[in-house]
């Protein structure tokens, strides 16, 4: 039961983007170790700006 609740919470965090920075850090560690990772605030700024440059909502 507890593991189900945890999985649900993980889903909610991922869906809302709450864990976007953690995912970015994991991706960064796996693929771009040579560069310095962005700070949380800087990453979030970029993430939000990019997200809203195309059609995201419809009728």
């Amino acid at each position: 039961m507890l593991s189900k609740i945890k999985a649900f919470w993980r889903g909610v965090r991922q869906l809302s983007g709450d864990d976007a920075y953690e995912r970015y850090l994991r991706h960064h560690a796996a693929h771009h170790q040579a560069d310095i990772a962005l700070s949380k605030a800087a990453f979030f700024k970029q993430w939000q700006d990019e997200k809203w440059n195309s059609i995201k909502r419809c009728c």
Binding site: H28, Q48, I55, R57, C58, C59
Partner: protein, 689 residues
């Protein structure tokens, strides 16, 4: 044995579904329980998904689970990211579900519950779901390209340009009509206006919280926002009681239209983090929460549907919008059955997150089934009202008369009894001054939702439920409005950039201000005309939007059909070809009537000529004569716009047929732009659960 059992279960579902659909169709009693609708819907969806969607995926598209998706091949940790299928489903559904499936069925309920219900069910499983799924598949196979890009690559420059112009045009009309729905919901309702206004600073607080106070803490900020939104619903009631404050929010439609335009402009030029992004978060939570709540309430309460199965208005004399059942019911429901707009999300956006091709039926087909179910709930919410009440709320003053006494007399004479006292009592319960002629669909949906919520969770809070429902509709309409204005701005900058490259720089301030102003002016014009129109405007704008949306769907299905034929799958081309043929039929028929009809409630030019004659003869009241030239010009414009949409539609269909004919007669055509097969390396199921 196991297989036998499975078959038996499916036969049972089929029988139950057939009984439910038959029950809805043949019922001629006083009322019918809403549970029949829910049962029919769930059975039809289950069967369509299990058999039709699975067959299309396996046989027509041949989805290949060993093939790497763009999300895997182009993974950059940002927009291309292999993602858990339920997360992708959430994103996709939140993106496609907008106010369309709520408003369309509410308006189409004037024909009775049956025609709309059948089209919502069968239009979705045979048309809308197929379109969404096939488009998602094709874009996934083409590095997540957009619909316009696919049209250009597969059919040629003509198809690509048509798709681009079509998208821009539908965006403008969509925003105008949605703006009109919000304006009509707020008109002379201080409570609704105050609550909707409060959503703007609330979104900004959430934006600042996420950006500066606690960067990236999305859920914390959203929880704060949702609490503030609920408080704003109650706060609106407090303002409504307060003599000095309420006058600020008790506004004419035209004033509110200017406010909405100013808001759209501000939202398009402000940084996204301040207003657009946080508002979107809030609207998504409220939307998903309210839809779930409505489903729970309908199942708990099992309300009786009081609207007749079919009303006399199928002959074209309906008060909400003029025109016969065929083709106008199909144009009106639009998004709940098939929506071209979804093709824009299914191409480009969602494929970038898709981990494995085998999830395509669930994402493309499944999410549209859910959208269709939302439309079904809107239909239920509209038809559980007393038909007399439903028509009193939705009929414009221009049709039934300005005075309450006249309106109830006209509506009762149609066979839908309603009294002034009944309407006044209802308005008092909902905390509104009056509910007569509150066109646009939002108020009647809110009354329907409030009565369902009220009966299920407590009658005493009807006014709160009503304004909660209005806030729910307004918040995501405004989200579509500001996001649409912004996207429109990008499209315009892109187009103008071809002429003057400097204009194409998305961060150059003069270009941002100019293009945003142009986009707002374009939809603002239609909104303005809609507001001053004595027939409520929805009558004009909604069919125009429906035609544009179905045209976009036809473009998506043309691209799909063309690609199927070019892939040597001619014998399966009917899967997208038949819905396409039907869409071309209804869109062309509707456009034809809108252009040529002599009936002034249907034909744009007929209405313009009639008004011009009356103006020349001097029989118009002075206030009407003053706006008549605007209305005449606008009716002409709408007529030409309809002609333009239908010409664009035929252009692309004929272009697709040309490409198919060339392919079938062995002449050279543009090659398939499918990206080459590369095997998936993702370990089985690593992101899937």
């Amino acid at each position: 044995m196991n297989k036998l059992l499975k078959n038996a279960v499916w036969i049972l579902i089929a029988a139950l579904g057939a009984a439910a659909v038959g029950g809805i169709a043949l019922n001629r009693g006083e009322s019918i329980n809403a549970l029949w609708f829910v049962t029919a819907a769930l059975c039809v969806y289950a069967i369509a998904y299990r058999f039709y969607a699975a067959w299309i995926a396996a046989t027509v598209l041949v989805v290949d689970e060993t093939r790497a998706t763009p999300a895997e091949r182009l993974d950059n940790g940002r927009d291309f990211v292999p993602t858990n299928k339920w997360i992708v489903f959430g994103h996709h559904f939140a993106a496609i579900a907008g106010p369309g499936p709520l408003v369309g069925p509410t308006l189409a309920a004037q024909f009775g519950y049956l025609p709309g219900t059948l089209w919502i069910l069968f239009g979705a499983v045979l048309g809308g779901c197929v379109q969404d799924m096939v488009t998602l598949f094709l874009s996934t196979r083409r590095d997540a390209k957009s619909l316009g890009q696919m049209a250009r690559d597969e059919l040629g420059a003509l198809g690509g340009t048509a798709a681009l112009i079509g998208t821009f045009a539908i965006m403008i009309i969509l925003i105008a009509v949605l703006g009109l729905v919000v304006v009509n919901a707020m008109k002379h309702s201080p409570w609704a206006t105050a609550t909707v206004t409060a959503t703007i600073p609330i979104a900004m607080i959430v934006g600042l919280y996420m950006r500066s106070f606690r960067p990236g803490q999305v859920l914390e900020a959203s929880a704060l926002g949702v609490v503030l939104l609920l408080l704003s619903v109650a706060g609106g009631g407090w303002i409504d009681e307060n003599k000095t404050l309420r006058v600020w929010f008790d506004q004419e439609g035209l004033t509110l239209a200017w406010w909405v335009m100013a808001y759209g402009f501000a939202a398009a030029i402000m940084p996204v983090w301040l207003l657009l992004a946080p508002r979107d978060y809030l609207s998504t939570y409220i939307k998903l929460g309210t839809i779930t709540l409505l489903a729970v309430a309908i199942i708990m309460l099992q309300p009786e549907v009081k609207m007749p199965a079919v009303t006399q208005f199928i002959d074209g004399t309906g008060p909400i919008f003029g025109g016969k059942l065929f083709p106008f019911m199909f144009i009106t429901i639009a998004c709940g059955a098939i929506s071209g707009f979804h093709a824009l999300i299914a191409s480009g956006t969602t494929p970038k997150l898709l981990t494995n091709e085998r999830d395509i039926p669930m994402l493309g087909y499944g999410s549209m089934m859910l959208e269709s179910f939302v439309a079904m709930m809107a239909m239920i919410a509209a038809t559980v009202l007393d038909p007399g009440v439903f028509f009193a709320i939705n009929s414009p003053a221009g049709v039934v008369g300005k005075e309450a006494v006249d309106a109830v007399a006209v509506i009762s004479s149609w066979g839908f009894p309603v009294t002034v006292e009944q309407m006044q009592l209802l308005a008092n319960q909902m905390g509104e001054a009056s509910l007569f002629a509150r066109t646009g669909g939002a108020p009647s949906l809110a009354v329907g939702m409030a009565s369902i919520f009220g009966s299920a969770f407590g009658e005493s809070m009807l006014a709160l439920w009503y304004h909660f429902a209005i806030m729910f509709e307004a918040i995501f309409i405004l989200t579509t409005l500001d996001a649409g204005t912004r996207v429109g701005r990008f499209m315009l900058q892109d187009m103008l950039g071809n002429i003057w490259p400097k204009m194409g720089e998305t961060s150059w301030t003069p270009s941002v201000v100019l293009t945003s102003a142009l986009v707002v002016a374009a939809w603002g014009y239609f909104l303005y005309i809609g507001v001053i129109d004595p027939n409520g405007g929805v009558n004009i704008l909604w069919p125009l939007f429906g035609i544009a949306n179905q045209m976009l769907a036809a473009i998506a299905l043309s691209v799909a059909t063309g690609i199927l034929v070019k892939s040597g799958k001619l014998k399966y081309a009917w899967v997208t070809g038949l819905p396409l043929a039907w869409l071309v039929t209804i869109t062309s028929a509707a456009a034809w009537e809108k252009i040529t009809s002599d009936n002034i409630r249907i034909g744009f030019f007929a209405a313009a000529n009639d008004l011009a004659d009356k103006l020349a003869a001097g029989v118009l009241l002075p206030e009407k004569a003053a706006i008549a030239p605007h209305l005449i010009f606008n009716l002409h414009l709408d007529g030409w716009l309809t002609l333009f949409f239908v010409a664009l539609l035929w252009l692309i269909v004929l272009d697709m047929l040309r490409v198919c004919r060339r392919y079938l007669t062995g002449k050279p055509v543009l090659p398939l732009s499918e990206s080459p097969h590369s095997p998936s390396r993702l370990a089985e199921d690593w992101v899937r659960d």
